[in-house]
Structures are given as C-alpha cells and as structure tokens.
Symmetry: D2
Subunit: 363 residues, 4 copies
C-alpha cells in the first residue's frame, strides 16, 4: 500500500527525488479526452521551482514525457485512448552528495527517521527519496489532465494562498461564482490581494535571510460541481479529498467550509438556509463548503489545507546519530524553499481535480 | 461505494435511523481475540443518549447482538473466530411520524437535500436515514473491539472535548505518556479540567434553552503506537485517519499535531529535534503529532476533529418546498442534542482504534 | 480481507453454519430499485435443501429478514433507498453436537485443517463455520436482488447442470438467444434434457446409497448484456467473474466460451467471424463466450464452473488426530447432499448477476 | 479500473504495443530485497520472441530500465528501497503501418471490436494496443522480481506446457516436491518430456505452414508455500490467482488440482486423506491442488490455464467494415506466433509469484 489512489480513476505515483525518473500512471481516464500539452506545461510551470525569492534556485524543467495512454492528433494535442496513461519526468539535476550523511542523522521535521524504521534502513535518503516534495510534480501531471477534462464539463477549480504565517489574503467568498476569479491565481504570485501578496513575499524573504522557513494555508474552491456527487459514510467528498490532500507533503490539517470555525458557531449561525432561485435550490450562506452528508449540494466546494513550514532550514538543529546512539548537532545544506506554500497552490488544485473527476465517474 | 472502510480490517456499516436494525460487519479481525462484552457495553454507554442535559432524552439501550464471527467462552467472554464479525442493534424507539414532511422540506445543515439529489428521492428520510448520528453506534461496536485488542498490544487511545464553542479544556500535552490520563475521560463528562467542563455544560444548556445548538472540537491521542506504521503518500496515518474521521457525521475539519497552527510557525519552531533517551530516539517536542511522512515516529499520535453544531435546532429556519418550488419556513420537532460533541468523544476513539489496528496489520 | 467483494456494488457476506445468523450487506445498490420479495423467495427456494433425494433432509426456510437499505411500498414490494442493504437469516436448525470432534480430526476435502492453521485453532468448526455451503444463501439474497434489477435492464441470466459425473445435459447453444430457455431451469431439476436429468438423479441416488458423493459442472449464460462492459487487464469480465465464482464452495475450475477445449482448436476454428445483421455486428460462432480482451461483445456470455464432489461422505476415511499427532480413521455423520450441484445452480446465477450489475455501473 | 492488481503488493501495468514504452509499477514490495538483474534478464528472455520456429521473428530485447524504487549496490545488484518500483521497456521495433486498417475492420478473436465499443473509437489499435501480448513483458518484470524474493523464502514456482492441441506433456505429479524439476523448464522448450516437446514443435510448425495457429494448456506448481495462506470467500488463493491469470491475454480457463476432472469423481476418490509424516500433517493425494477453502494446505499448489489459439492467423477470415456497415474478408499480415503457449510459460510463473508474494504479506 502507499502511492496508489482512487476508485474509477486510479493514480499510481512513482519515483524518488534522485531516482532516474519520477512519474505517474493514471488508470481509468475516459477515452477520447483531449490533453493540451501547452496548457499542461503552463500548469506545471506554476509548481516548478526557481520562480522567485521564495523558491529554491534549482532548475527543473519537469516536462513530462508521455510513455503510454495517449495518441497524438494532427494538431499536436494528445488524446486519451483508454489505456493507462503514464508520464514520467527525468531527474537530471540531482546532486546526491549533498545528502550523504542524512542516512545516519535524521533531519528534524522530515521523514528520514520514520522511513528508516519503516524500511529497515533500505530507504532512498537522497533528497528525501519518495517523500520529497518533488513527487508533487507527478500529481500535477495527473491533476493538470483532470483539470482540462473538468473544464470541458463546466467545472472550475482554483486555489490561492489563504495565509503565510500571520499574513492573510482575502478569502474566497463562500458563494464564489466567478471562474475568472478562481483562475486569477494562475498567473503570478497566487493571491487575490496584491498587497497581502507583497507582505507574504516580505515575510518569506525575512525567513530566508534568517535561514528559517514559514508555513501557510491554501484555500481551494471548485464551482460548477453538480449536486449529488459523493456517498456516505467513507466515500464522501470530504473523506476522499482529505485522504488525497494529506498525500501532499507538509499538509497537517484540512477543513471544509467553516471548518474549525464551525466549532465555535451556533446551529442557527452555521446552518445554510435554502431558498428558490428561479427553479434552482440554493443556499444563502455556505458554511458547509458545498458538502452535506459527504455529498455535494451544488454550492461551491470550499476547503483549506494547512502546510507546516519547510523542515529544511539552515539554522543548526539537534538530532541524533543512529549509528553512534548519541546526540549530535545538524546543519543542513543544499537549496530549499523557505516557504513551499506558493508552489503548493497548483498541487492542491491538481489533487482536487483528480478526486473530483474520479468521484464524478462513480456508478 | 460508501459505508465500507479499511484494508486488512474492513468495516461495513449498515442501517438507517429507523430501519429494523443498524450494525456493522468487521471483516479481517485476527482470530483468537477476546472481546469482553461488559467492557464493550461500558464503552458504548459513553456514546448512548440520555446521559445529561446536553443529550437527547431518547432511550437507546443500543446493546449489540453478535450475529456471527465470535465463539462464546465458558467465562462469558467472546472470542473472534476469524470469520466476519457482525453485530446489530435493533431500532425500537423510533417515532417515524416526526419526520413525515422532511421529504419535501429539506432541513438546513442536514443531508436531506443532497440525499434527495443523490438517491433520486428514494432515500429513507426518517430520522436522517443512513446519515443519522445513530450510525455512530456501529462504529463504536467495531472500535470498541479494536480498542480491547490494541490495549493488549500496549496501545492506549483516548479523547476529550478540546472545546465547545469558545470554552476550552486543557489540551493534551503533546508528549503525553500517561495511559491513565487518556482513560480519565471514560468516566463522566469527557474533559480533563472539571471547571472547563462545567462551563461547557452551562453553554450547552444555554443553547438548549435558546432552541439552538453549538459545535466543538475533540482532541484524540494514542500512546504506545510503534514507530514505522503507515506508508507514503496516500496510505499514511494522516490520510487514513482523516478519511475515516470525516465519516463521523458533523466533522468539518481534521488536523494533526500543531495542525493549522503549524501554518503560523517558523521551521525552527515547528521541527521536533531528536535526542537519545537511553537507546531510544525521542523528540523534545511533538508538533508533528507523532507522524512524519505519513509514518508514525513513536511519539504520541495526536489530532483534533472539528464538529459543527447539531443542525437540528428548534428555531424557525428558512427552507424550500421541493414539490412546491417555493420558499417556506421550517420548524423542527423531535428530540435532539444541543451539542453532540460529548457523545462523539468515544466515537472518535473508536474510529481511531479501528484505523490503527488495520494499519498495524499491514504487510 | 476475505468475504467482501465488488467495486461499485460491494457485497459483504457474514455468518457461520451455526452462528446466530448468516447474511449479507449489499453496499452501492442503485436507489429506487424494486425488490419483489415473493420472487426473491422463489429464487432462494431453488437453493434451499430438502428438495429431493439428492439433497440433505434438513429444513432451512432461509427466509431473509431485511435489516436495512429498503423501504416498504404499499403493495408489499421493497424499494432500495441507497443505504447499504443488509439481510440476514437466522440459524435455527443447528445440531452442533454432530461436529464436536471435528476440531481434532480434520475432515478430508473440507477446510477444517487449513482453517486450523489459518486461524490458529480459533475457527468455528461447527458445520464448517464460515466455509459452509450454507453461506451461499446470502449470496443468493444479493444475487436474487441483482437478477431482478438486471431483468428490468433487459438482461437474463440462467444456468443449468452441464454434467454430473459422466452424465451430461444438452449444452447451451453458444449463441443462445431465448430468455425462456434460460429460465426453464428455474422450475424442477435444473436441466434442459429431462432424460439426462433422470440419469443424473439415478447416479446421485446411487452415490447416496454407497455413502459416497459426486461432482458436476454448471453452465451459465447471460443474454442481453450490452457490448463494452469490462476493462483490461485485471478488471475484465472473466477476471471478476472468476474471482467471484471461486467464492462458491467446491468450485475448482472456471472456463469461458470454449474454455479448455479452445486449447485443442486451431485459430481458424476458434476465431468468431463477424458479420452484419442489419446494422448490428454479430458473430457466427461464440467460442469466446461473449468476451474478448475482458470486454463483452454483445454475444451471449457463457461459462462453466466445475464443482468437486461433496467432501462429506459416509464411508470411512483416513485422517489425523491433531492433538495426538497420529493417524486415525474418521466416519462422518450428519446430513449431507450426495451432490451439491443441483442446489448450486441458482448460486452461480446469483454470483453472476452480482458481478454483472457491479460491472455495468462502472464509470 | 483496469490494469492495477493486488492488495499488499499492487502492480500497475501500462503501455500499448506501439506506445513509447510499456512498463509496470510495483507498489508495496518489501524494502531491502535484492534483485539480481542478470537473473531477471534470463527470466525475461524466456518470454521474449524470436526463440524458435514457434515464435515471431521480431526482435525485442525487452530489457527493463528501472526508473525508481531501487538503489544500486556496489556488486551491481539492485536493492528495493520501499518506494514504488517502476520499470519500463522502450518500444523500438514498431511498424505501425501494418495495422492501419484494423480500426475499421476488427480482427476476429482479438479485442479490436470490443475495445472500439468500450473506448468509443479512441483506442490505440496499433498492434492490439493495451490488449497486446506484449504487455506480458511488464508482468514478467514484476513477477521475475517476486520470484527472486520467493526463492529466498524457500518457495519455488515452475510451469510447463501441459499440452499443445492434442499433444500432451507428462503432467506434474500432484505431490511434486522437487524444485529442480520445477526449474527444468527454465531452459529450452518448456516441457518435461522431450519427445512430447518435439511433437508439439511439429504441430506448431504444421500450423505455421498452414497459416493457422493452435492453443494449449500450461500447468503451474508452487512448492514450499506455507499452509495457512489465503482467506475465504473472495480472497482465497483460487480467487486471487484466477483473477490475475485471466489477465494474461488468451486465457479462457483456469482449474486447480483435479479441476474439471474433479466433477467426474466420487467424493471417496477426490478427498485427500491425511496422515502424519513425522510431526507434519500431509495428504496422500492432492486433488485439491494444495488449496482447501481458499487457504493453502502446505501441499504443492497446482493449477492449469487454458490458452486459446493465437487469433492472428494468415488465412482469410470474415469480418465487417464498421464504417461501411457491411461484411468484408480480412487477411492479416505482420509477424505472429503460431502458438503463444511456450512463451506464456514464464508469464504464468510470473503472475503466480506476484499473487503468492502479495498474499503472503497479508496481515
């Protein structure tokens, strides 16, 4: 068990930070779906490193090569053929020597120690191995394709940085209905409020200078999702999305609609009253985040995911030598994002799209 | 898809609020495990209604009848035999007339409307049908059994009310290591701080008088869990626990360790430094909640779940008549908890135990 | 893992031969489907014991009680409500004393010994426990419901005894297109050719007199199945049907279309040529049994399952005493079918219907 | 759903006959397992084409490239690291023009027509696409690795040609206990009896000259499998092996132990009597094929799979033009095995090893 997810669309993610390649197999995509590679490349570029002061300076072109599952059209687009789609990305800019001593001295906040126990010392420690944030690139391949398919079905998925540290962006309106607003964050720093964005960038830069890092929250919405998707009790949209979103490294919390804030509300405040808008049933508020009983209501799907700060920091930390059985200080080198939240925004969109398309195909 | 969960131990929950019975099949329990029915009954009593002002006055003895999967010992205990264990609870105190008009006028905050769309009007609306909080009783049967098994493996699971509305209990220490403290909430109102408990009860009573309801947060911990349980990316402890916990009605958020608060921390604050305690690797803090890369570290497993306020309130609300296609006011009758959080505490323990045991059996 | 099967429709079978009850949960049935209980009872009666000289004289009314998942209509029919459907059958006529010494002396041909190893001696040995042929009754509940649903979708499933020992019935024509012929075996001894049926009954009676038993083959067909159901490589109709059919106790072989005989054919004999029948693509032969590449072609689905002879025979056999570590003769008492094949015919139909409906709901 | 299989070890097969690459992801392999690439290459060579008159003359080196999941040792072996292992094979010798008109005129006996319906005309028809026998190469990668792991656990899996057309090899003794005998077929034409092998080769050559093809049966055995593997009802060894074996193209039947022949036996003939061999429980016969109630008994696991004749023959056949809606003759060109059975022998071993290792890891 581990890196396979889904029911009707199953994604199987493979690769380590420094293996020959990373990639994903997407099994169960409907046949005949067009994939625009230019659009996919643009989507993946949002996740790629090297975009600004907040991200690592490593260059990863991260262009996926399609090994199977598609046929090429005359216009250069790809069309799914019903067979499992596999796309891979070569790992070329790996500098494994940076990580040589990690095998003995687990980095705090990383999976080094737990992987050591889980895999009996046989895990690939280079760059975090299969636990590396680099594995979100394959998620973006799968999700980028699903996003294109959902768009053709009238569904728009978007996300933005809700907060970095204590700096907050304008939240989505709970009843957000503008695809354009959801897509706004696809260009530039992914916030709605530019002033907030600048403050976030300042905070990230400050952390970088201090050899430290900072966490944040991403908010994601999907509009156009038909009512009636999902099932009680364990296959509701919340269950399935939560399971998948926790697959993104560094996520430590997921909440839907009002989420944790709902715990402080009265029922009279939290219930979303219904009304007729012409012949459509709507709600005047959306504390439910578009989901009741695990099933979509037709209101915007809305959730947030909390990301912990990047565990790789340059300040000296305390760890242990597993071979020596003694305490030891640790200083990490290499290149690391002081805040991974900006680059995680398209990853959250990707995972959300994958889950939604899977659930919409449910019999 | 819907009410089946798990890999090595699969639970299949069945029943509606007013069907002949509710229950659960637990497939994959190890054979030869002793089930103490007295202990199980005591555990289930913590979830049962009618315990105080905060809960409905309906009487539900909710004693499970074991239909299969166990053999009786001479000392009255039951022993699992390897075959699927099924236990059911008869629904006897049902007053279906209370719910007659709900079919037409969906209650805000309930799954009435989404179920109507999902099941084309064929859903069982009586008492919320399969979406009813009553379906947490079968979860407690399965989880109560798993708790007994985990105890014999040196693992203690406990939970308490972290907050009701704005009133907070003392949180668990992140490095909690006292089984007794975890089990403290098994008796009486499930808080650590009695003063906080009284304030919660006052708040709940206030809501009850106002015909309103209130939400809350439950914190759960497990100690004694060995390091090395779980797998990246989608079968980590966070993924699997989150999927399951969102199966409890009214949960709108789940966070592990520092959770959402981690988003406001620096890496230097959030990373849990390692040190040697004799020959054991330990951490001095536990913002990770005992999980790194989806895999347990041996530190206490710690998470919180946010519950929205009970959607059933006695104040007039606005809804629609599906048949009439028009707006209509709605006043709900019947008996409902003004706050379900106290009774949900053992349910969170139950689900956690089920997931943990399942994951510990992983090959 | 064990007694749960399916993707979109999941069945979870529970019970032992002598537990309080046996039954099944069917999760994922479409809502709004009518279940005619009279028809279901008639279907289950075909599996019930006590029908003739070939079956045990035990009386098992085996009437299922619906615990959940249905609503009653005014006309006495039941309608699925989308929630998991659970039906159980009480075990009333159990005589456990017959089986007391089986724990020590495993019966040849039964699962007594393998269960002893698998469950560490904790298995329920009474009447074969969860391995008992009695567990096919829940399969017939699930399958009987699915058959009713398939009928409304224009699909007819039928089976007959293909052979008992060396005595063969007329096989189905590979291109069988008569629903009436498929349903013919629902009344009386399930053969197409009455003369063959009489010869089978004579052979079974002969075995009974000799304290012996005899095996046989069941042939099953489904017509009206649309083309395009199933997926390569592991979720084809053959894969899924085979996995399920081997869940019926005593099945030791499954073959589709020409099956093992295809191994002796030339490609020019085995290929089913296509032709146009009006605007429909058809084949002139059907050695494929209606499946190519795991996907239905629209031709009749056709397969056979081989059943070994009932392992319970009255002749003295050789076994071991597990406690004594020595050889010992064994004489089985109790009531047992000298040939289970006649009663297994509806079971094969039931399992087939469950698998087909599941696969037709695939996204 | 489709090309993913397994519980604890999941394999995800990808690729089409003419896609850029084919391959497999194996998720869940234990960490620290050594893979000898020389041994793996030798195993895969047994499946490769171009070995004799019975196989196509295409050259496919089919050397797998490991993209992830392994670390290289200093001695050139590979060691699994716990991350999903992905290996791919480039498709280099593809001649797509041979298949241009197949889109319109489905080949009898192939999946062309059913894929057309299933995928709405978007399937990759070149070389049979994802349905091609070429996809058994990835199965051999996964299985070849599992075979090496099983060998270290004392388990030997072997297979041979049981029959081609009417020509039969010596069958395995039901109580076969010689690893050497099982491995004998790894070299040369995979039969036990060389005379029978020559007769088979003559028959295959005769078919080739006639532009025809021929089917056959493969028998497979595994010795050293511990007792107690597998679960009733749907996760027994028979269920899981059957589901997987039907994933090999052209398989139309699977039988365990005496299989279909058991249907003609009396219980007194078919039951395998037990006896004590020192302190081990053994059976004097093995009609059960080592499986009772889905669970292994410790006796040799024994089964057979029937392969239909290669559907690609050079004789003129009758098919339809889908675009023209009319009948049309068809003559297939290209290079095809007149009998795929010899090359399928290691594929059967591979699939068996994958299923066994998966089941042995069950909790």
């Amino acid at each position: 068990m581990s890196s396979i997810f889904g029911h009707n669309i199953k994604i199987s993610v493979f690769g380590q930070s420094h293996s020959d390649a990373i990639g994903v197999t997407v099994d169960g995509l409907p046949a005949g779906e067009v994939i625009d590679p230019v659009d996919l490349r643009a989507f993946m570029a949002r996740r790629a490193p090297g975009q600004g002061a907040y991200s690592t300076t490593r260059k990863e072109p991260d262009l996926p090569e399609f090994l199977s599952g598609v046929l090429e059209s005359e216009d250069g687009t790809l069309v799914t053929c019903g067979a499992p789609l596999t796309a891979s990305i070569r790992n070329t800019h790996t500098r494994s020597s940076d990580y040589a001593k990690l095998k003995d001295c687990p980095r705090p906040g990383h999976a080094d120690y737990t992987a050591e126990i889980r895999y009996g010392g046989h895990q690939d420690v280079r760059g975090g191995g299969h636990f590396s944030g680099r594995l979100t690139a394959p998620l973006c391949i799968a999700g980028g394709i699903c996003l294109q398919i959902l768009t053709r079905r009238g569904i728009t998925v978007g996300a933005h940085i809700y907060s970095v540290g204590e700096v907050s962006d304008t939240p989505y309106a709970p009843l957000i209905d503008s695809p354009a607003l959801l897509q706004k964050t696809a260009a530039g720093f992914p916030v709605l409020d530019e002033v907030a964005g600048k403050a976030m960038l300042s905070l990230i830069e400050e952390c970088r200078k201090e050899g430290d890092s900072i966490g944040g929250v991403i908010e994601c919405a999907a509009i156009g999702v038909p009512a009636g998707i999902g099932s009680p009790m364990f296959d509701g949209v919340e269950n399935r999305l939560a399971q998948a979103i926790f697959g993104i490294p560094a996520v430590k919390g997921v909440e839907f609609g009002a989420g944790f804030a709902a715990s402080r509300l009265r029922g009279s405040q939290n219930n979303d009253d219904y009304y007729m808008d012409g012949d459509r049933v709507k709600t005047r508020t959306n504390t439910a985040g578009g989901i009741l009983g695990g099933i979509t209501s037709g209101a915007p799907l809305l959730f947030r995911a909390a990301f912990k700060p990047t565990p790789s920091i340059y300040r000296q930390q305390q760890t242990v030598s597993l071979s020596g059985g003694c305490d030891t200080p640790l200083t990490i080198e290499g290149r690391h994002d002081p805040c991974i939240v900006p680059r995680a925004v398209p990853v959250v969109e990707a995972v959300t799209a994958t889950v939604l398309l899977d659930m919409m195909l449910e019999g």
